[in-house]
Amino acid sequence: MMVAALAILGPLVAAALILVIRRGAAALALGGAAVGVGAALVTLARVAAGGRYAATLPGLPGLPLRLAVDPLAAVLAATVAVVSLLVLVYAVGYMAREADQVRFYAGMAGFSAAMQGLVLADDWLLLLACWELIALASYLLIGFWFDRPGAREPATRAFLTTRAADYGLYLGIFALVAATGTTAIGPSLGARGGVATVAGLLLTLAALGKAGQVPFHGWLQDAMAGPTPVSALLHSATLVAAGAILLLRVAPLLPGTVLLVIGLAGGLTVLLTGLTALAQGDLKRLLAASTSSQLGFMLLAVGAGSPGAAIAHLVAHAAMKGALFLGAGVFQHARGSTVFAALAGVGRAHRRVYAGFALAGLALVGVPPLAGFWSKDAILAATFASPHRAALAPLAILGTALTGAYVARALRLLWHGTGRDEPVVGLAPMGAALAGLAALAATLGAAFRPLQDLLGVTLPEGTVAPVVGLVAAAAGLALGWGVPAGRFPAPARAWAAAGFRLGDGLGGLAVTPTLALALALDGLDRRLDGAVRGVGRGALAAAAAARAVDTGAYAAIGGVGWASLALARATRRTDERGIDRLIAALVRATRDLGARVRRLQTGLVHRQLALAAGGALLLLAFLVVGGLLAGG
């Protein structure tokens, strides 16, 4: 398990080191990716030898984070690691003249680490976390040139569209965990009945959003605003593949109705985005529409009940589409644009790159013995064997023809015409990575037989399917090479080139329902508001009554207080004017008396004596009178 964990830790540590050290970013990212490739390949070899690994990391309390390596995870991890490494090698040349390498390489390494985490996760919690990290990393990378006009909006659009579809993932996981009581992926897929249908549909919604399928396909073409290595990584092995990988993981859960929905959505995407690719006037946007279309093939395979074919096509597509984008990046550097008008004749100036590009393109069309032939062949056979063959098989055949048509058209436009070439810097690493991926795209078909044994699945085979596929591809190639796009009716071409904006994810299926929901909620809000206002009015009346009572009580209290004050004032007045005045009068009288008596005190002896004699006489008179009264 340690080796398998290195597949995550290699890019993750590289991203952390890049952010900390801030120089030698490319070397660090390459080192991390190389470690990841080594770990993934060793793990694949061990798993092929029969080894199975699982590890439980301490996560949240009661919610451990589980990692597991089964054959599917090992194959996907190896695919992701190899493509990431080659794209990084390419980026060394492509990004040589760009500023802010730290941000770019840290984002790419973090992207790879999150993708490996998603692949190796055996736990819904960890898967969800990695899923969100991928969305974040893709947002940062698509908006890498955020200072250029028109780069921010696509990043935001990609983020919002995939996030809107992510509600399906959240709700589906909630349903599964609630039904089965475990966050481990394996046991939770044992759910059956209504839960399986509902959860399957919700998870399908998330996968459709991530994989750029109808009706969410719009964001994927806008995401071309990012640097070409980002597009290559996004479209081959990581971001959009995450949607397909999710469906492959939960394939055992899905009941027949959900499979039909997936198949139809995939088939519709194959058709619509194939037409979009055919009408595109921009090489990278053509490739982006093609990505949606090819992922539609994988969904067709899943819907037809053959996940093995989808896995094969996923692996093959990672190599083919990676090579196509790498070639497109070289052309972009040579002409300073990705519009076909500017790219006319660039293939003849860069013949070796054109050869790699053409090899990958033909593999995508399904020309034997290149990888795409085997995987597309398997998908066609699967649709023929499916119970819904009437609906799915024509879509698959038409899609094959469309693939041929748009690849041939791109090859023709790149070859014919003339333009002014600029010198391309860093051609050596770009060419090396392109050569690696193109070689893989050419030869992977040989690996499908051991891949079947490893995964324990059998790719559907048939005698009709290869013939039909070849005829369709050849017809498409002839159509694309021979008939210029100008022959299509102009309105239909414009509509297709715009990615069928009517059925567009954000415009048609997110904004309109959201606005309708908002309107309905507004009405509900108004009614609620009325009710709240009624309650408020009642409360106001009650408050007014309470206030009246309060005012009365206040007045009464005020009266009591006033009476108390009056009483106090009267008491004071009595005090001041009555008692105080009485006392004052007494004092005054005493003082007056004292003053009078003072005058008696003359200090003359005879006067005193006379007074004493008078007093004695007075006493005598009292005595006599008293004695007479008593005696009488």
């Binding site: 200090g603 003359l604 006379a610």
Partner: protein
């Protein structure tokens, strides 16, 4: 034979003379002589009442002796005051002594 009435009349006459003297005289010594006369009148009355009304009780004689002692003390204090007054003011005329006015 002297009767109680005669004795009381003599006492009253003495008291009246003493009173007059005490009130009319301005000399401190003369005032004190008037007071002595009044005290003497009181003594006469005391003796007369004892002799004619309660001759068998000795308390009257004791009371008489105490009054005589008081008279002697009063004279001693009075002449002390007069001497001091004379030394301080050079006169014992009471019309000139108004320092005790309130």
């Amino acid at each position: 034979m002297i009767t109680l009435t005669v004795a009381l009349l003599i006492g009253a006459a003495l008291f009246g003379i003493g009173l007059y003297g005490a009130l009319s005289q301005t000399n401190l010594v003369m005032i004190m002589m008037g007071i002595e006369l009044m005290l003497g009148a009181a003594l006469v009355n005391l003796v007369a009442f004892w002799r004619f009304l309660h001759p068998d009780v000795y308390a009257g004689q004791m009371f008489f002796l105490i009054v005589m002692t008081v008279m002697a003390l009063e004279m001693a204090v009075g002449f002390g005051v007069a001497t001091a007054r004379f030394r301080a003011a050079g006169s014992v005329e009471m019309e000139e002594a108004a320092e005790l006015q309130g």
